[in-house]
């Protein structure tokens, strides 16, 4: 029973933490976008653009990094 619960917990965490660096980077992008919207006094769409294009860039960077590591 304990083993199964541990596996369940690991699976739940694994659902959202596919790769540690990507997870942290996404959270940082969300925090930056939130700060731009709430504190910088800019148009909220600037925060939206940072969120959208930040995530797109992170995805490409993460896949390329994994390809370099995986292939070497």
């Amino acid at each position: 029973m304990m083993t199964m619960l541990k596996e369940l917990a690991a699976e739940l965490i694994g659902m959202f933490v596919a790769e540690k660096r990507l997870t942290i980077a996404v959270l940082v992008i969300v925090a930056v976008a939130g700060s731009l919207v709430d504190f910088a006094g800019l148009n909220p769409l600037v925060g939206g653009a940072v969120l959208l294009f930040g995530c797109l860039s992170l995805l490409i960077e993460s896949v390329c990094r994994a390809a370099r590591v995986g292939a070497s």
Binding site: E11, L12, F16, A18, L51, L59, C64
Partner: protein, 248 residues
């Protein structure tokens, strides 16, 4: 009034994501049923679905108590993490950097594990087989529950998203009942790629709304986000294929 520009992506994301998860659970259920009979497989499945139903009934009412902007932000961030994780893996699989998911191989591995268990323990095999199925149904089912809540809760689309998931279960069960073999021909990576695209798009959309961003075009922005994530995933996959060759 249901906006189809939001409802259609929510229903299709729930359907396709559930299709992938149900196929994975079905492979384990079939392996157990083939080796140990349908009784432990059916009991394990029923127990897994029962626990999932309990989780939904317990957590469902709590969602109504959370302010909508906080709910959108929390779900949006989780969707971003979940969707981008899927999209990353699907891009790497499409590039050939990591191997494709192979239902036949998983079926064989599960069957070998159960046979090994049979040699070691000699008894309580029905129980062990049932637990194996329960675990598989629960683990894959939790992902389905999360996806249904995530794509449905932000706009009151829980029921349509749930119906999308149920339709996926029905499709897999019907296909499984007909062919009685692991569903190896399902283009799983293509599905995962598509679902990763949609979940990531929903993730940006909900996170932005939770932060107070009013997206231009409202729900239609989802389609633009999905197109951009699709483009980024394909681009990443192309780069990854070149890098894998270069660094090999």
């Amino acid at each position: 009034m249901m906006a189809w520009s939001t409802a259609a992506p929510a229903i299709s994301a729930a359907f396709l994501a559930s299709l992938v998860e149900v196929v994975e659970a079905f492979t384990i259920v079939l392996a157990v049923a083939t080796l140990r009979g349908w009784r432990p497989a059916a009991l394990g499945t029923a127990a897994g679905l029962g626990v999932l139903a309990g989780i939904v009934l317990l957590l469902g009412p709590l969602l109504d108590r959370v302010p909508i902007s906080s709910l959108q932000l929390a779900i949006g961030i989780l969707l971003l993490l979940f969707g981008m994780g899927w999209l990353r893996k699907a891009s790497l699989r499409a590039a050939g950097v990591i191997p494709l998911h192979d239902e036949e191989a998983i079926f064989a591995a599960e069957a070998a594990e159960l046979s090994e268990e049979a040699r070691r323990r000699q008894r309580n095999l029905g129980w062990a087989a049932g637990i194996t199925v329960l675990k598989a149904v629960l683990l894959e089912g939790l992902e389905v529950v999360f996806i249904v809540i995530a794509v449905g809760a932000g706009r009151g689309l829980l029921v349509p998203a749930g119906l999308g998931a149920l339709a996926a279960c029905a499709v897999v069960l019907a296909a499984g009942a007909i062919i009685h073999r692991p569903l190896a021909r399902v283009p799983e990576n293509t599905l995962k790629f598509g679902v990763g695209v949609m979940l990531s798009a929903f993730g940006v959309f909900w996170t932005g709304e939770g932060l107070g961003i009013a997206w231009p075009g409202q729900d239609l922005a989802l389609l633009l986000f999905a197109a951009l994530f699709l483009g980024a995933g394909l681009l990443a996959s192309t780069f990854a294929r070149k890098l894998a060759v270069e660094f090999a």
